[in-house]
């Protein structure tokens, strides 16, 4: 399983090892370089002193070259070898009597100074410098034989020891620093990720039923706040869905269980009568009541099937051309409470839609308005360039803005007891389903005067550029 903490720790450790390694390597080589420069400088000084030993002088008209070995510089003969060679490579100064037969001296460069590591015949490591030079020429003397060379080789154990100390120092202190740094980094990562861990633990402790839990956002680091805000939003949505589902289940249970209970009670009360005691008029009353209950249940099931058909997209949605105003007028004129409607429109307004669904939508809206209001009901048609909308308005003094949120829910009714069996609380659900199948838009609104308005818009006009599902 991926772990942010482990991944961060591994990366931090890799980077720190790399940095500490490079740093130690750098320090070691810097110090080595500085020591060698100093060491070479001392060898060079010795070489320059040696170069001054060779003189070219004119004595009795003859040019002579001599090595003034009396003036040879002082040095430690156990650890240093000092040799002067003429241009032909012949050793003219070898105070330490180095056995050159069995040991090859460093080669002489054509010109200048050559420095390199060497090994003494006894195996000790050393550093050499070979420097070419022109001998000192006295006045009147002439010299044309080429450059001499001075070779100084010195044991370098002091440098190696110092470098070894530095190397161990780097490894020791660097390793310790690395360990401290790794621990600090681990703790820092752990502390930095603590809020995430805490949220993780809190989420693990959450129970399925505790959907009302919300995380405290203000105290969290700003990087995590958006995530936790989103989680809280998600909880809000899940909780709202859960409550909606719960309301639906509760309402559905009531709508289905109550008629079943009625039917069962009617039949069981009927069963109690002994045939000989049964009054003549009683069976018909029981049967009539039973039939009334089953008709109500049947109506409920039909509506639920209709909703289910829309959801499974098996609803007949084929469109035909018809006059919206004519259909609307006919529905209003044939309504039992025609006197309550106010509708004026002279235009024909041809539309393309499924006429049956349009009529079903209209019937539901008109019946709803009639049932849930007492006064006048206004029906309006709003025409656009490509589409048209139908508005049904009625006064609804008991309705509140909050109710508009729940209106689309199945079985929702303003009266929470659901006692009125004339309505199932599925009318607006059906209307919404029909609208969805025809790509119409259903809106509810409630103005300041508590006039409730249902608007079905997006009904395609025939002469417009429309799209029908």
């Amino acid at each position: 399983m991926k772990s942010i903490k482990r991944s961060l720790n591994l990366r931090q450790a890799f980077i720190q090892v790399l940095i500490f390694g490079m740093f130690s390597f750098g320090i070691y080589h810097f110090v080595e370089n500085r020591l060698l420069v100093e060491f070479d400088h001392s060898l060079e000084t010795l070489a320059y002193s040696g170069a001054e030993l060779v003189e070219v002088e004119k004595e009795d008209g003859v040019i002579e070259i001599e090595v003034e070995d009396d003036h040879a510089p002082a040095y430690d003969h156990d650890s240093t070898i000092f040799i002067i060679r003429n241009p032909a490579g012949k050793i003219l100064f070898n105070p330490d009597q180095v056995d050159v037969e069995n040991w090859s001296l460093p080669a002489v460069p054509k010109k200048g100074v050559d420095k390199q590591n060497e090994t003494f015949p006894d195996g000790r490591s050393a550093r050499s410098i070979v420097m070419t030079f022109m001998p000192q020429i006295e006045d009147g003397a002439e010299y044309h034989e080429g450059e001499w060379s001075v070779t100084v080789i010195r044991e370098r154990s002091s440098i190696d020891e110092a470098l070894e100390t530095i190397l161990w120092g780097c490894l020791g202190f660097g390793g310790l620093a690395l360990v401290i740094s790794l621990v600090a980094s681990y703790l820092s990562v752990r502390q930095g990720l603590n809020p995430l861990d805490e949220i993780g633990v809190k989420m693990m402790k959450l129970e399925m039923a505790s959907l009302d839990h919300r995380f405290e956002v203000e105290s969290l680091p700003q990087e995590i706040q958006p995530i936790v805000l989103k989680i809280n939003e998600l909880f809000d949505r899940i909780n709202a869905d859960f409550l909606r589902e719960k309301r639906f289940t509760s309402h559905a249970a009531h709508e289905l269980r109550t008629p079943l209970a009625e039917l069962q009670t009617i039949l069981q009360v009927g069963q109690r009568w002994r045939p000989e005691d049964l009054p003549e008029s009683l069976p018909s009353q029981y049967f009539n009541d039973g039939v009334e209950v089953t008709q109500r249940m049947s109506r409920l099931l039909e509506t639920l099937f209709l909703l289910s058909r829309e959801k499974s997209e098996t609803l007949e949605t084929a469109c035909t051309e018809f006059s919206l105003v004519e259909v609307l007028s006919k529905q209003i004129k044939t309504h039992p409470q025609v006197d309550r409607f106010r509708f004026e429109s002279s235009a024909r307004i041809p539309v393309l839609a499924n006429q049956e669904l349009f009529i079903a939508t209209l019937t539901n809206l008109l019946n709803n308005a009639v049932s849930h209001s007492k006064g006048e009901i206004t029906v309006e048609v709003e025409g656009g360039e490509q589409s048209v909308a139908v508005l049904v308005k009625n006064m609804a003094p008991e309705l509140t803005k909050d109710d508009l949120v729940y209106m689309r829910e199945p079985f929702w009714r303003k009266e929470s007891s659901h006692s009125n069996h004339d309505h199932l609380g599925l009318g607006l659900n059906l209307v919404e389903s029909f609208c969805r199948s025809q790509s119409w838009v259903l809106d509810f609104s409630l103005n300041q005067e508590n006039e409730f308005c249902v608007k079905v818009s997006g009904i395609s006009k025939v002469n417009g550029d429309f799209e029908v599902r």
Partner: protein, 226 residues
Amino acid sequence: MKILIIEDSLHLRTYLKKALKQDGHNVDLAEDGEVGLWHAESFQYDVIVLDVMLPKVDGFTVLEQLRKNQNQTHILMLTARDAKEDILRGLKSGADDYMVKPFDLCEFSARVEVLGRRSHRQKSPQITVGPLLFDTMKKSISVEGVRLDLPYREFTILSYLMMHSDEVVSREVLEEQIYGVHQNVMSNSVNSAVSVIRKKLSSHDCSRLLETRRGLGYVLKPTEKS
């Protein structure tokens, strides 16, 4: 027993009343929470059958209001809401029993009986007063094994007196048992019913079990035997 049904479904309340009347109970009906609350607070009932989703005032509020007012009547919640939290809410608010719709009528009757017995501090379904035996489940009263054939009114009065044996029961209380809230009370109905009961008892040689206390009411004495 005197029972109040607060239920908004017309069919349910009508047929439950029929069933309970067949069981020998006197039943009052209320179609919404407001009327139900008024009935429950205005009259003495042995059992109240209460729906939850009621118009005007919901069942939970009715229940809470009754318990708040120290009303000790046994209440059976009868509702379509079967969620655990609804059941818990009902019981925690003071309901004595909870039934979910749809329900079996026999079970409903039995539960009402149990609550009724509990309100009369009787645990056994059979109540004995001297030689009289009242079987609350079979709805029969017998004297030493011989069943007394009593009409509804007389049966109701005698069964009530048996449930309150050795207590003086006033005429008004007995009238409440045999008449619903909306029924007109006949002035001598209790007297005539008691007279019929006495006749029936005397045929079994135990008419002196039922005494009249002038100005107070009637008492069924468990030890008396003529």
